[in-house]
Subunit: 279 residues, 2 copies
Amino acid sequence: MYWGFAFDDARCDSGPLSTRPAQFNVLAGQVQRACETDSADPGDRYARALQDIVRRFRSFAAPAQVARFQHAHRTWLSGVAWQIANQAMGRMPGLDEFLTMRLQAAGGHPTYALLELATGAQVPDRELYRPAVRALSEMAMMVAALDNDRHSLHKELARGHTDQNVYTVLMAERGIGLQQAVVEAARLRDRILLRFLRLHDRVRPTAGQELAVYLQGLRYGLRGNNEWGMRVPRYLSQGHWPDSMEDLALAYAEEPTDTRPGPVPGAPGIAWWWDQDLA
Amino acid sequence: MYWGFAFDDARCDSGPLSTRPAQFNVLAGQVQRACETDSADPGDRYARALQDIVRRFRSFAAPAQVARFQHAHRTWLSGVAWQIANQAMGRMPGLDEFLTMRLQAAGGHPTYALLELATGAQVPDRELYRPAVRALSEMAMMVAALDNDRHSLHKELARGHTDQNVYTVLMAERGIGLQQAVVEAARLRDRILLRFLRLHDRVRPTAGQELAVYLQGLRYGLRGNNEWGMRVPRYLSQGHWPDSMEDLALAYAEEPTDTRPGPVPGAPGIAWWWDQDLA
């Protein structure tokens, strides 16, 4: 994948922390324009690669699908800008703010915007922007983002990273230790996934053919993200996929760790996912 | 209007310049979430006002039109983030970068996203995202932004502002004085407006009824922005609408100051507006 690596690892790690938000904002502006405009001169090889990717999208997809990817790309950059700003200010967000920020910064928006481009299913906008469908999209992104936090936990601990992730946020907000934070984060994630599954089963029968393809894509994405996260070197402290004898190996649980219905307390920014009348 | 005032004037003027991009990014993240999510707790009266406005949109408009406003709002915040970053770094952008940044930072996206909400015309996404229609939208926003730079010039000069506007950018990039920059900025603006008018006349006959309403809205917006800019106290150095005896009064020109066709040199980020095969 193009994204993530470029910003996280390569381009914003130099210079004092306090100047990074400004540097990032300028870079993000230029990258986003390259994403949106073929005539732009991004003057940066990463942005040029993105421009090339979007040119290919344009060659086979309808303008609305390309525009959705572009909006999603901007959303992701906004999330990263927020994350970097918190870093620069030495600011540990509360759970509510973290979830909203991470929802965007994790890159789920552009990833899932690829669904329409990959499948060719053009979801009518009256279906895609239905509140229930938007909630399903956001929940799928949130679960994937929390799974990514889990996948990278060992590596981050090994490297002494103390930046914002669901564990450091829960530890700070609730005054708990890492073990307990891992338990609570799994509960949080399981509650969201359960709500996703239930709402999905209610929405799916009402979906047109293209929306059905999209919803199935959200589901594949959840599983695929986990398969990827358990193998990809960037998340593995030992740089390889742990075999079953290593205690770093993650496994799927048999049952959800929290089956309580209703919104997660203390997270109003995502509480609407549980609205009973979502349609 | 809600926007502009809040960020420009009230909320980012305290603290050292270097910390503003980080502060702004966090604020923008929270404001945008309030724009997108009714359950969010923005903890900020401006964001709460925005949340109330969008709640009203939701009460009478279709989800796709509300989503378009939300995307547009994010685009605007990204542009302001870019502008603030340049300020913090004491960085005067070149013309190409400035035009892209200003296109977003001036607030044209959310303003014009109000067209569908105000008129009730729901433009099908296959029409709204046509490259020619996107070019028309961007050109209308750019002309309005450049007109705003003109309207606020006297006030900015009177206050000793030297921040990025089309005049300071042209002066720095071309080594020219203010008088010449005013002439060149008018030429630039007139070339874009002429291209807008010509492309509009080609697109209009192909437009469905809703798109026709939208395109007419872009045109009204250009004129309306000028009427507003010539009267609104924020742009007037004397705090009132100048009468015809005052030399600060702006007037409409009889003729465009530059009728050359083809893209503005040195501005690849907007050069695609002049593509001959825009459809």
